[in-house]
Symmetry: C2
Subunit: 457 residues, 2 copies
């Protein structure tokens, strides 16, 4: 946006309607050109790829796109500019005057004075065809070209915008950013399957390993974040995590992005849920306001009516139910589940989806799970005989679990006993240490970024 | 900052000097408390860890730090609050009135009305000692606790601030953020040693590999970014990269962070150098203005006089010399080099440092390297018999090479010939494809983030 403002300042310098030559023109992104209000013949240069060509008797219409927005800029040129090289997929540089458009379909258009074809595009060989909507399976064959389609372009712009929004949310709320290590020797929950890492070189150093201990790819930065929250109070990380799950769509699960945060001095799960709800709403609002047409395109093609559903979520306070209540709701459901819901059994996707529908398609926090379902570090609620821990999952419409988090056991003796019961005392001595020196009640959560994007679109 | 403003709004609600009880107090980060101008008895709660205790006859002074800034908040309490538990390293919650400090050493202080020890700290067992400056080698034994020292705290705050500044620079300048894959099957330059990745599970699927092709950890996102720059014009990524170099300090080189950018429609190296210089200056200015005391601490302990050197770099335009000129300068140097400088040989660290000093300790771009020193994708300058490519390295004082970049060969036939000469035609067919469909002159660069941080501090 700053960029646009600076460029518009530059534009003022050459805003006479007929530009003398030679002259300097301002380079403008398509997004910024489209945003110019009351265009009155500013001299600009736009660069991009041709998305459509329409040749009339005396006039030539081009649509030029540079990826800065879904919408292309309409270029109007004298038909004398027409040439075989001005074709779908070619890259061009167009110089001309930005004027108010006659048509209602766009605000401004570019009256071309000079069109230069930068790179031609052979239509026959180009796998992306003019005006065709290619199925995603087809595009998967062309990972190097598919980002030039509207659909993939929108998905990637939404991803970029959401990334920026997440960084902003945390920065504005006093969280410090931490790069948690990708190569690690601990496996966090002992839950996910790990990837091991070795140098690929055949000439290995004899009788020596590259790493002193086996190295794995991280499955979560949580433990590292806990260390940091003991010094910086509020911390977050946003990076790749890896699970070697052998599922059907395994190639997609192998690498995914996670947003993780850890907060010290929390009083209850309520404090954590506030951050989760705040992050979700702020990020979603920013994406919806910064690239509404991209979100709409996804909805139009992939999930119609989704925009209303998102706005419904933003308008309402998220709900909170306990695991015990969730099980009761599921037991009383008229629906037949593949997995019978009962106390002590984890919620399945079918259960999660039912619960969200039952709650009026508003995201719902499920809290206080049975201890035996959760890892050792979650804080015990001391509610015998139920024996639950202060865990929280956020279930959202269409996706199921989006966030998972908990208070962490900050009491030295309680954690010590739990580690001993699991035979983990030695490996987690350092973790126990954190509870010895100025321990504080704290908790954190993780959000699967790809799941979040799935929900958005 | 937004957070602070909101909190100060809340403060106004309870700004009477003597607060009636019970009452709501605003939770304030130490950084925000320290930033309050004209404090006049606002009721606040501050949480953090005790950094120092000074007990006088009638008054007790505590310094409380929550990691939001290097500086701690001074808490002044009646000596009746004194207890053995109020010790270095303990975590506390202090409620009281924020008042103008009598001392010149700080702007505000907190007149305590209630002090709660949240977690005690056993001084004897705590490896970090009060008022001691521990060497970094000592702290390396305590990776889970060292972030509670001033030195590590400052380093991590600078890192967090620089990360935010880099994201801001690119966003403000119309770059789209891309998550380039960490698991990949290509090795980009064929330069760095790779890490290979395999599931660690012993129960492997018989006669089947997890991945269809061998999977490595990325050494650079460049090729992926080039794909994206063909759709979005200006793109960047900022994430972990990996090199299995078997050097002495190998554990540190294994995983590092890189900022990489790719720009379409560039006219010359000049366009790229502008982005590099802009990124360097904007980021450095933001870090220096947002956490000056952290930068200063690093300089004080690690590299004195560095702040002046940084400001010298910010004030001056970076210089540009060609590789040919660099070799001439080195040949005429009075210094004896371990590696004799001559045309066709890569610049060594000793050469880089000499060149920077020769240029008055201003960062200097070295451009147009001999083709045989550089990878196949760099654009040929067509300057026989020199036969150089449009490569650029930015050398900076104290560090040597900070950025490396180039124009990429966008001409189909030139690239085709180079690939054929290297026997890479088959593997890089997709890369050649990018030059067939609307090819554009483009280029990009990478900056080693840890090296940048090294320069800062």
């Amino acid at each position: 946006m700053l960029g646009a403002r600076r460029l518009l300042g530059a534009l003022r310098l050459c805003s006479s309607v007929s530009c003398p030559r030679p002259r300097a023109t301002a380079k403008l992104r398509v997004r910024d050109a489209l945003g110019v209000q009351d265009a009155s013949g500013e001299c600009v240069t736009v660069q991009g790829w041709i998305r459509s060509v329409r040749s009339q008797k005396e006039v030539l219409f081009l649509h030029v796109n540079d990826g800065s927005s879904l919408e292309s800029l309409q270029v109007v040129a004298d038909s004398s500019f027409d040439s075989r090289e001005l074709a779908f997929g070619s890259s061009v540089q167009v110089q001309g005057q930005l004027v108010k458009s006659q048509s209602k379909r766009q605000n401004v258009e570019l009256k071309a004075e000079k069109i230069e074809v930068v790179g031609t595009c052979e239509a026959k060989a180009f796998p992306i065809k003019y005006k065709e909507r290619h199925p995603l399976e087809y595009l998967r064959q062309y990972p190097h070209l598919r980002c030039r389609t509207n659909a993939l372009g929108s998905i990637l712009r939404v991803r970029s915008e959401a990334t920026a929004a997440i960084h902003s949310y945390f920065k504005d709320n006093g969280f410090m950013h931490i790069h948690t290590p990708v190569l690690t020797s601990n496996d966090c929950e002992g839950a996910g399957e790990l990837f091991q890492v070795e140098p690929s070189s055949k000439i290995k150093v004899p009788e020596e390993n590259f790493f002193d201990v086996p190295a794995f790819l991280t499955v979560s930065g949580q433990l590292h974040l806990e260390v940091m929250s003991g010094a910086f109070t509020q911390v977050f990380t946003f990076g790749p995590t890896f699970r070697a799950e052998n599922s059907q769509s395994r190639r997609h699960l192998a690498e995914f992005y996670m947003v993780e945060a850890e907060v010290s001095f929390v009083e209850s799960l309520q404090d954590l849920m506030q951050v989760m709800e705040g992050l979700f709403k702020a990020t979603t609002e920013m994406v919806l306001s910064h690239c509404p047409e991209d979100v709409e395109l996804c909805h139009q093609f992939i999930a119609s009516g989704q925009k209303d559903r998102l706005e419904h979520m933003l308008k309402n306070n998220f709900l909170i139910i306990s695991y015990a209540e969730a099980i009761e709701i599921l037991k009383q459901a008229s629906q037949n589940f593949t997995f019978t819901p009962k106390w002590g059994v984890d919620l399945q996707t079918e259960h999660e989806k039912y619960l969200v529908r039952h709650c009026g398609n508003i995201p719902v926090f499920v809290i206080n799970y049975p201890s035996e379902l959760k890892p050792f570090y979650m804080r015990e609620n001391e509610d015998d005989p139920q024996n639950t821990v202060a865990a929280v999952d956020l279930l959202v419409p269409g996706v199921g679990e989006l966030f998972g988090g908990s208070l962490r056991e900050e009491r030295y003796h309680v954690l010590e006993q739990r580690l001993a019961r699991s035979g983990l005392t030695k490996a987690y001595q350092w973790y126990l240490d954190l509870r010895k020196f100025g321990s504080v009640p704290h908790g954190g959560f993780g959000m699967g970024f790809e799941r979040y994007l799935q929900l958005l679109s």
